[in-house]
């Protein structure tokens, strides 16, 4: 506890960096996974291809992906972009399937009703399909958020600073309090992301609560 009291400033700076490295890929990953998931739904032959491709990407160990990023992107080894891109890849890998399955969970009758009311193309997608898929997509996003927060801490091994630095530094210098602080900070951050997504889901799907109230 003493160690923590002396290092609040450091912890907050590292936490801010951690939020960026884990959060930005979450947003980017969702933006990329949405059209991919839609395409997987639209052309059924694409579905198995996209699902197995994303499965293969997720198979690559995080440290290896971080290390290989400069080779693929041409960035410098210590560039933070390496971590952001690698995490975006993982996020997309997790979310493509979620988005496709979420869109698939929208009942056919609802889609027909929407069409009968004149919803077409993009307007139907953003007005009917996507909102109804929110619960499934949000569940996937929560999984991705928690795993991102955990994986990002590995980036301290390649010299990109975030909360993982507390872990490596604590280990190198035998400061148990620092490791514990790092673990707690990561868990708190994961819970924070989780809570935010849950809140977003509530706000985006008011009808779920309305139904619950009636029943």
């Amino acid at each position: 506890m003493e160690w923590v009291n002396d290092h609040w400033g450091d912890i907050f700076a590292l936490a801010r960096s951690h939020v960026w490295l884990a959060g930005l890929p979450l947003v980017l990953g969702l933006l990329i996974a949405l059209p991919l998931g839609w395409a997987a739904r639209r052309w059924s032959r694409l579905y198995p291809v996209l699902i197995s491709a994303s499965g293969l990407l997720y198979t690559i160990p995080s440290l290896a992906l971080f290390v290989l990023m400069p080779l693929i992107l041409g960035t410098r080894v210590l560039d933070r972009a390496n971590v952001v891109v690698a995490m975006t890849i993982y996020t997309v890998a997790l979310l493509v399937r979620t988005v496709a399955d979420g869109l698939g969970s929208v009942p056919e009758a609802t889609l027909q009703a929407a069409r009968a009311m004149g919803y077409k193309g993009l307007r139907r997608f953003f007005g009917v399909e996507l909102p109804l898929a929110v619960p499934v997509i949000a569940a996937g996003l929560r999984v991705a958020a928690v795993s991102n927060v955990s994986i990002v801490s590995v980036a301290s091994l390649i010299g990109v600073s975030q909360l993982g630095n507390l872990l490596t530094d604590g280990y190198d210098r035998f400061i148990t309090a620092e490791i514990v602080a790092g673990i707690v900070a990561c868990v708190v951050l994961a819970l924070l992301f989780d809570g935010l997504i849950l809140l977003g889901q509530r706000l985006l799907t008011p009808w779920v609560r309305a139904q619950g109230g009636r029943a």
Partner: protein, 272 residues
């Protein structure tokens, strides 16, 4: 740069010797297998028990909430705590394996639990109605029906162990992680990237092999044959009646069919 990495990967000096690439690959697979086997020995019976009796569901939620703990932190904390208590070679091995085991209990446990939980209650009732006892129901009905999800839990566990064993090189474990961790420390990017390529290929190969095993073992004919083979004649009809359920179960449950390890773990963790 790519050329020199290829040269490193193909040179015989890289592959030979006690600390050569070949030996490191064997080490890496050995640690991973050890951790998965120990974790499965704990998690599979536990998951079957929770799924079968419906008791102590909190165990599954607890295991799932463990996922939020950063692996790296767990690794270092256990290494600092256990390391000084053990002497010699084992000082590096035991803490790492302990962490790897803790890490993969959740995916295996939730896979087994979700699999058993998803067994159609009518199937289970039918088995009881035909005179099967508790353990017989578990062995002949619940396990075969749950096999797709059990195996995808094991598969994602194996991949997670391969990835984390790489990171464990930082606390002194051998295996392929040595190339990455040592390479970063000495600024030798060629062997770092080379090691990363090998670990990635290894993970992909293991995933492919396990996917194949999954396909072979879960095929409806095989599951029917397996359960019927060792039992008395009386249980034959039961086996026959459960096997259609097995086949529809595995084809409608998409996580098992398309075999994406990553998504499965995730979906499971929030299903509970």
């Amino acid at each position: 740069m790519i050329a020199s990495i290829l040269e490193w990967l193909t040179s015989s000096a890289t592959w030979s010797g006690e600390a050569g690439l070949g030996a490191r690959i064997v080490e890496h697979l050995w640690y991973s297998l050890l951790a998965v086997v120990i974790a499965a020995a704990v998690a599979v019976p536990l998951g079957l028990w929770v799924g079968h009796t419906g008791r102590a569901r909190w165990l599954v939620s607890l295991a799932n909430s463990l996922r939020a703990v950063p692996t790296l932190g767990l690794l270092f904390a256990v290494a600092l705590w256990l390391g000084p208590k053990i002497s010699g070679e084992l000082a590096f091995l035991i803490p790492s394996v302990v962490v790897l085991v803790i890490l993969v209990i959740p995916p295996i446990l939730s896979g087994v639990y979700a699999g058993v939980e998803a067994v159609d209650p009518a199937t289970r009732d039918a088995a009881r109605g035909m005179g099967m006892r508790g353990m017989e129901v578990v062995r002949q009905v619940e396990i075969p029906n749950a096999l797709p999800l059990i195996l995808s839990g094991l598969r994602s566990a194996f991949l997670q162990v391969i990835a984390t064993a790489t990171v464990a090189a930082y606390i002194g474990l051998g295996g392929l992680g040595r190339y990455l961790v040592d390479g970063i420390k000495t600024g030798d990017y060629v062997s770092t990237a080379g090691g990363a390529v090998v670990v990635s290929v290894l993970a992909l190969l293991v995933d492919g092999v396990l996917a194949l095993v999954q396909r072979l073992v879960v095929s409806p004919g095989l599951t029917g044959g397996r359960t019927g083979r060792t039992r008395r004649g009386r249980s034959e009809p039961t086996t026959a009646s459960t096997s259609p359920t097995t086949s529809t179960g595995s084809s409608t449950r998409s996580p098992a069919r398309s075999g994406m390890s990553a998504g499965d773990g995730g979906v499971d963790s929030h299903a509970t």
